[in-house]
């Protein structure tokens, strides 16, 4: 097996005494290199908490997370920062672009922080921008461009350092349907062309249908798993909607 990430019995509790909330309850799964995995669930199902632990932003209460055999739950904070810097790329619902930097600079900063030289940086940044269709807005500031463009900028930033894993938290949450489709196409492109491993958290069935595999989370536990296999996207979407209908989740697209 080409296993990349292995999550073993991870738990996350909040609160203390009698007032404990189990946000994530003994979750285990694994992800292979080059996979595009979705995590679905209603609000409060623990999907964002799980993502935060996978992305080292939050600590686990119990359990282990291995990246290529490295247990990231045992790293010290300096090591965690280093790990994050060299292995992970992020795409968030609210873009998380720096408002004082231009689109190009937002992407460039990710590379200068790695200590790369101008000669290395410029071609990669420009190539990435033209591939994602944001080259013409390079010198604009985030407030001057559309939400879709911002999100593509965030994708470019997540990819420039060729991270082992791209983590996306509700990336289409703030976009209209056309921009969402463009972004998801971008994700597919990133997955196929750049062989990026992508882990996307979403509550939206349409977005999830772009994934290769989906984990369904409910009350902090994985209760179902779907693989796309050779199915068309439409078929896969229907399958997802069926699962959601069973759990009383998002069924807007079923009608």
């Amino acid at each position: 097996m080409n296993e990349f990430i292995k999550v073993c019995d991870v738990e996350k509790y909040y609160g203390e005494g009698n007032n404990i909330t189990k946000a994530v309850n003994r979750v285990s799964f694994s992800i292979d290199h080059g996979e595009f995995v979705g995590i679905m669930g209603a609000s409060g199902s623990g999907k964002s908490t799980l993502l935060n632990m996978l992305s080292t932003i939050d600590h686990v209460t119990a359990g282990h997370i291995y990246y290529d055999g490295l247990d990231i739950t045992a790293l010290r904070s300096e090591q965690v920062a280093q790990f994050r810097k060299y292995n992970l790329g992020f795409v968030f619902q609210d873009f998380n672009l720096l408002d004082t930097l231009t689109i190009e600079e937002n992407i460039r900063l990710a590379m200068t922080l790695h200590g790369k030289s101008k000669q290395e940086i410029d071609p990669v940044v420009h190539g990435m921008m033209s591939k994602l269709g944001i080259a013409e807005i390079a010198d604009k500031f985030p407030y001057q461009v559309s939400g879709g463009q911002k999100q593509r900028c965030a994708c470019a930033r997540a990819l420039v350092n060729q991270p082992k894993l791209v983590l996306a938290d509700e990336p289409t949450g703030a976009l209209d349907s056309r921009s969402s489709m463009m972004l998801l196409d971008t994700f597919t492109l990133m997955n196929r062309e750049f062989h990026a491993t992508i882990l996307m958290v979403t509550h939206d069935a349409f977005s999830a249908s772009y994934c290769g595999r989906i984990l369904f989370l409910k009350d902090g536990q994985i209760f179902h798993e779907l693989s796309r296999g050779e199915k068309t996207r439409r078929e896969f979407l229907n399958q997802i909607l069926d699962v959601l209908a069973l759990t009383g989740g998002d069924s807007g697209y079923a009608d």
Binding site: S55, I57, S77, E78, V80, A81, Q82, R84, K85, Y86, L88, F90, N96, L97, L98, D99, T100, L101, E105, R108, L109, A110, T112, L113, H114, G115, S117, K118, I121, D139, F141, Y143, R157
Partner: protein, 714 residues
């Protein structure tokens, strides 16, 4: 409801803008303390010149009110921008503009009142400290007394809230014309980075530097006049604003050009932060630099005078009592009686100063003493005799001589070892400041007295009362045997007392001298003038009377020369050390206190704006640093970015102010040493002032850093 909401908002604002509150409390404390001291009855009783200090503090207060108003104006606008969305929501909920304006007004007044109350409390202790200092100046024991001066409190109250009134009225106008969408937009406005005509505007940077250098060159090169001073001031102010506007654009162009620095680790982030901050704050930064510059200059000047105070009295008046009389044969019998009645005499001497109709020394000094700044020189640097004889105010008509025996007795009174001159020798007793200007030409010359040719045997620079008493700037010591060859010039009486004399001694001696010489006190002079006018004296008569008496009345001296000390010169016929010391100290304190007052307030206000700017943005920064964290920066690296960002931001106006003020301060300090003979140098005074400056700076910087890091970690 309005009051409750205002109270709650004020409480929140106090928490959010704690540094602002602390500074306003500090300002209130300073106002209260200084006003209370100025209007204190004790001080008025202790010193007749208290009104001078009052006037100086009053003048300082005007500047302070102006600047504090600016701070309040700035903060009111700043808080309004930060909370614009909240005000928009009030409007949305149906509150009208007037009500919101009133809400905001009450909030600010509550904050002001809290600051004032804390300030008065702190100011009470400060006042006690100032009073202790004052009493020490006058060598009296101060009993701490609990009680708040109502006049001081009233004046401070009026001044403090006067600062608020104007600004808050303005902000009401602001509210009146705002719509909901304006409020909603206002918050976004902060984040907007306007792409301007940077390529042209960056030229302002070199223009600014040129203006500043130009101003410095003009003030160094040209002779001083009010017109030039204003020209330099205008050039400096314009230069500062150009510098900051240009710097912001320069940075923007650099970023646009993708300069090499933007590819170095976190520097892209730091440079962008700085550029956008400078863009929105260029005028504020300019003003802050100016304030800091004034604070530094003030500190330097205060240090100069404080140092001068240390040395001046000791230089001028090592003797307990010294009395001059123009009559060379005067015996000072009545004066001695008056002193004896006041305090027993431990040692005394009646002696004479002589001349030899020689003018070599005064002519030499007229050329070489830097205090005259070449006033008596012709184009070739030689003595312009007619100019000197016409305008000489510092020296007697002839070189002054003293006999060795008298000199040694005086040294004995001062506890100094006697000197021994050879049969054919002479020595020079000179002020330390003036000794610097004596070169071989004058040090090695032979002095002819009658048939004797006296050779130089030494130069003495002990403190020796040489403002017209024991010579003006210098006296030549000659062996007693040549006495008959010299002409007696004037007479002196020096005494050493067993204990400190009473405060009244100087007055008693003056009254006696006035009665004898026909001089008048100021009151007598004014009364006489009034009676002349009432009796219909002609203009010529009145002018003649004025010319005859005015100098005597106001300068209080009949000394023919006073030496070359300037700025503060201690010269009077009768000198009583204790009284002169107090008068000097008070005069110096009248200069130092207001300057320190202004300097401190300016410094704190500038630093408050710097701190508030950074701290209130930390919400926005929290997000930015969060992004950096996700991009893989460790906590330590983020602390490093914060540290660098704050350091650049704090150091920019500080370095600017240091550069700007150092030249002027050192120049002025060196001139001060030349004119007054105080010890030290311009650099020394400036260094002291700089230490205090950066001490306060460090406090604010650390407070900001700690607050900032805490805020982004929340």
């Amino acid at each position: 409801m309005l009051i409750r909401l205002s109270l709650r908002n004020a409480r929140r604002s106090i928490r959010d803008y704690l540094i602002y509150l602390i500074t306003m409390s500090g300002v209130a404390a300073l106002m209260f303390a200084f006003d209370s001291v100025v209007f204190s009855k004790d001080i008025a009783r202790m010193c007749e010149d208290a009104s001078i200090m009052g006037a100086m503090i009053g003048l300082a207060t005007i500047f302070i009110i102006l600047i504090v108003s600016w701070l309040i104006h700035y903060m009111v606008r700043f808080m309004l921008e930060k909370r614009s969305r909240e005000f928009g929501t009030y409007l949305l909920l149906g509150m009208d503009q007037k009500k919101i304006a009133r809400l905001y007004l009450i909030e600010n007044l509550i904050m002001g009142s809290v600051a004032f109350v804390i300030g008065v409390f702190a100011g009470f202790f400060l006042e006690q400290g100032l009073l202790v200092l004052f009493y020490q100046l006058f060598s009296k024991e101060y009993q701490i007394h609990v009680g708040i001066s109502p006049v001081g409190l009233g004046v401070a109250f009026v001044c403090f809230f006067a600062c608020y009134l104007k600004t808050l009225r303005k902000s009401r106008k602001l509210f009146r014309n705002m719509t909901i969408s304006d409020f909603m937009r206002m918050e976004k406005e902060n984040e907007r980075i306007k792409a301007g005509r940077d390529r042209i505007l960056q030229l302002l940077f070199p223009v600014g530097i040129l203006l500043l250098v130009g101003a410095y060159v003009v003030i160094c090169r040209l002779t001083f006049s009010v017109g030039i001073l204003f020209l330099c001031l205008a050039m400096t102010v314009a230069g500062i604003y150009c510098f900051y506007s240009g710097l912001a654009s320069l940075l923007f162009c650099y970023l646009e050009r993708k300069g090499a620095g933007t590819y170095r680790k976190q520097y892209l982030f730091i440079l962008r932060q700085l550029a956008s901050k400078l863009r929105t704050m260029r005028f504020t930064m300019g003003t802050i630099s100016l304030l800091l510059c004034v604070a530094l200059l003030g500190g330097s000047i205060a240090m100069m005078f404080a140092q001068y105070q240390e040395t001046a009295v000791r230089n001028v008046l090592p003797f307990d009592v010294l009395v001059y009389n123009e009559d060379a044969d005067y015996r000072f019998e009545q004066e001695r009686r008056i002193i004896e009645e006041d305090t027993p005499i431990a040692g005394e001497l009646v002696y004479q100063i002589y001349h030899n109709e020689d003018k070599s020394m005064i002519h030499y000094l007229a050329v070489h003493n830097a205090a005259f700044g070449g006033e008596y020189c012709d184009q070739n640097g030689q003595l312009d005799l007619s100019q000197f004889e016409k305008n000489n105010w510092a020296y007697y008509d002839y070189d002054t001589y003293m006999l060795e025996g008298d000199y040694n007795e005086l040294r004995n009174l001062l506890g100094l070892a006697p000197i021994t001159l050879g049969q054919e020798g002479y020595a020079i007793q000179v002020k330390p400041r003036v000794a610097k200007y004596l070169d071989e030409e004058i040090k090695d010359r032979v002095v002819e007295v009658g048939a004797a040719n006296l050779k130089p045997e030494g130069i003495y620079t002990d403190d020796f009362s040489q403002n017209g008493h024991n010579g003006a700037d210098f006296v030549i010591i000659v062996p007693d045997k040549v006495r008959d060859e010299l002409t007696a010039y004037y007479s002196l009486y020096a005494a050493k007392l067993v204990a400190e004399p009473s405060d009244a001694l100087k007055n008693k001696l003056d009254q006696y001298t006035n009665g004898k010489t026909g001089r008048m006190t100021e009151d007598e002079y004014l009364a006489k003038l009034e009676s002349m006018i009432a009796s219909g004296a002609s203009v010529e008569e009145i002018e003649a009377f004025e010319q005859e008496k005015q100098l005597l009345v106001f300068a209080g001296i009949s000394l023919k020369a006073t030496g070359s000390d300037q700025i503060i010169s201690l010269a009077a016929d009768t000198l009583v050390q204790k009284t002169e010391r107090q008068a000097t100290m008070f005069a110096v304190a009248s200069i130092i206190f207001p300057i320190v007052y202004i300097g401190l307030v300016f410094l704190c206000i500038a630093l408050t704006i710097l701190a508030v700017q950074q701290l209130s943005d930390s919400g926005k920064y929290r997000f930015r640093f969060d992004v950096l964290r996700k991009l893989g920066l460790s906590e330590r690296q983020i602390d490093g970015v914060v540290w660098r960002q704050l350091l650049i931001y704090y150091m920019l106006p500080a370095l600017f102010a240091v550069l700007l003020s150092s030249g002027i301060s050192i120049l002025a300090g060196n001139k001060f040493v030349v004119y007054t003979g105080a010890s030290g140098s311009g650099l020394y005074y400036y260094g002291l002032s700089l230490m205090i400056f950066f001490g306060v700076y460090l406090l604010y910087f650390l407070a900001t850093y700690v607050g900032f890091v805490r805020n982004i970690r929340k």
